[in-house]
Amino acid sequence: MNSTLTTDRQDERLSGNEGLRGAIADVVERARGGDLGVIPVVVGLIVIWTVLQILNPIFLSSANLVNLTLESAATGIIALGIVCVLLVGQIDLSVGSVSGLSGAVLAVLFVVKGLPVWLAIVAAVIMGAVIGWVYAQLFNRFGVPSFVITMAGLLAFLGLQLYVLGTKGSINLPFDSGLVNFAQLDFVPAWLSYCFAVIAAVWLFGSGYLHAQERRRAGLSARSLSMLLIRSLALLAVLAFVVYYLGQTRGIGWMFIFFVALVLIMHYMLSRTKWGRAVYAVGGNVEAARRAGINVKAVYTSVFVLCSSFAAVGGILAAARLAAANQSSGSGDVNLNAIAAAVIGGTSLFGGRGTAFGALLGIIVIQSISSGLTLLNLDSSIRFVVTGIVLLLAVVVDSIARKSRTSHGRA
């Protein structure tokens, strides 16, 4: 025991987990208690990538991985919305239909009506927000379970999508439009990609350093300088390698950068703002949140609006990537992939647990399976089965972890 203990480490029952070894020990300790975080998804990703690479050596090729990032963005953004809804312990089953409708609205306004593309995008996103608002009103006023409301939405908005598209059933977006360009051909130049990697590492170090200084001034324990350095250098190494490897072919698409930026923004919103705390609190214990003076209905409204808006954005990007909006946009597995991505990324179906990064990791798992099986020339029947099994595994892991948390007193 040294004599200059910080305020938060004075209790003699605390084990002295400091430095790198302490950090690792902490993670192991928490995982044993059922607080798995992103461990299952990282392990899952390694297993899936290994298996698929053995089955088909093209899988981990740069070209295929570039494709994978581009394919992830649209559904990943939808999954980001699902994460928010799951955090308050609710669900939105209609994101697929809303994304399809949003793509259709965009195509009709942009191509058929000839509006400027930005106006069509804004209109589609506002439509998404309104849908979320309506869900929230139904939920808050009448107390209808969210899965029933959104299941009704699933069917209704699919119908609306077919109606909007009319008899033709498919509208092509012009290839020379900025939107299609953005989704298909716009790649970040190599030098800028490396800049992004460096900025991210410096940012991580800088914010960590300032935070540690502030904690030390307040007499609290803080990460050591070497820990901060190791952490940001590790991030730099990983990002630089990703940039280098993807740069072997086309590099990193702006659409993927856009997705990652949204993930970072949502991460900040959820972990560093009062709103984020309210979201976790409502998911953990609604009554406690209400008594703490949180406007629970407003939290539900914000989350439903956010989810549908993200679904609309995802739909726009999916249409742009396909350069068309058609009757099957947003149908089939989009819905389930988005929900599966959120759950696989460690978001609990029981509410109150999960992170924005979960959406990113989860969608990469889902897209890896999809891409790997496509490379093997297996048709969608098998893909559906495999994705279904992976989702089931993720949910089982979630439930087991929850049980383990209860028995280790961390529920």
């Binding site: 305020t7 938060d8 209790d11 029952r13 605390l14 935070h211 502030e214 904690r215 307040a218 007499g219 609290l220 560093r272 703002t273 009062k274 709103w275 705390r277 309210a278 976790y280 609190a281 998911g283 953990g284 214990n285 009554e287 406690a288 949140a289 008594r291 703490a292 003076g293 949180i294 109150g352 647990r353 948390r405 280790h408 007193g409 961390r410 529920a411």
Partner: protein, 263 residues
């Protein structure tokens, strides 16, 4: 009631009544809580303890009667109003979010710097509060789910202290706690008194009442059935007043006092 008693009391109730439909939950309740004093409120099920707590915490308004707080007549329309006045209530179910850690629970709904949470300030203040209560919580960064019942009670009490209240109401703080944890919570109550707060403690447990309370008010069927000085009353007498088993000397004396007659 003598004038001196009223002068040093921080919270006084006079003639509080509340009916739900045809049921008179509370009739003509008088109470005085002084700063630095622990008043235990005891009574059988249905005696009106919970209703009294709800009136004081702003959940239900009283039908009649006056509440005086720091020598001002006040109304408590909402829980938020009670909090703002300086009357904090710790309900029996504590209302903590188990998935959030101690700091997050303490500051829930009143975070420092809403758009860029100031974790350092909140953690420092959390330690201050816990220190103030001499609380035994090893780390404030563990989820509340990992804490024992007594520690959770501590967190709930610490949270109620955030707004610097004058009066704190504890609803059955030791129910469902083990021996050691009960002792821990009773220590907390002592600490609250030392810090100059008026404490109202609802309890079923006579041992706890004898251990920490200064005065004990007995409710029976929605009426005052005597206010006793804990040092001068035996457990049997309190129980008799709760159950109304005897038309006992104590209640008669109380009645005489009320009418201003010599006791």
């Amino acid at each position: 009631m003598s004038p001196t008693q009223q002068a040093d009391s921080v919270l006084s109730l006079r003639g509080i009544s509340k009916t739900f439909g045809a049921v008179a939950a509370l009739t003509d309740i008088d109470l005085d809580v002084a700063a630095g004093q622990v008043m235990a409120i005891v009574g059988d099920n249905g005696a009106g303890k919970s209703t009294l707590v709800k009136i004081l915490s702003g959940v239900h308004p009283p039908d009649s009667g006056t509440i005086t707080f720091e020598s001002r007549d006040i109304h408590i329309p909402t829980p938020a109003a009670a909090h703002k006045l300086g009357i904090a209530t710790v309900f029996q179910d504590l209302a903590l979010c188990e998935n959030l850690n101690v700091i997050q629970n303490l500051f829930l709904g009143q975070e420092v710097r809403p758009l860029r949470l100031n974790d350092v300030a909140m953690e420092t203040r959390s330690w201050d509060l816990l220190r103030q209560l001499s609380a035994k919580i090893p780390s404030v960064r563990v989820p509340v789910a990992a804490l024992s019942g007594g520690q959770r009670q501590t967190v709930a009490i610490a949270r109620s202290l955030l707004g610097d209240p004058k009066v704190i109401i504890l609803d059955e703080p030791t129910a469902a706690l083990g021996v050691a944890q009960t002792a821990e919570v009773l220590n907390l109550v002592e600490r609250l008194r030392e810090n100059g707060l008026g404490v109202i403690m609802i309890s079923h447990n006579m041992a706890d009442v004898q251990a920490v309370a200064d005065t004990v008010a007995v409710l029976r069927l929605g009426r005052n059935n005597g206010v006793f000085d804990v040092g001068a009353v035996s457990t049997e007498e309190i129980i008799a007043a709760i159950t109304g088993a005897t038309d006992n000397a104590v209640s008669q004396r109380q009645a005489r006092r009320k009418e201003g007659l010599p006791s």
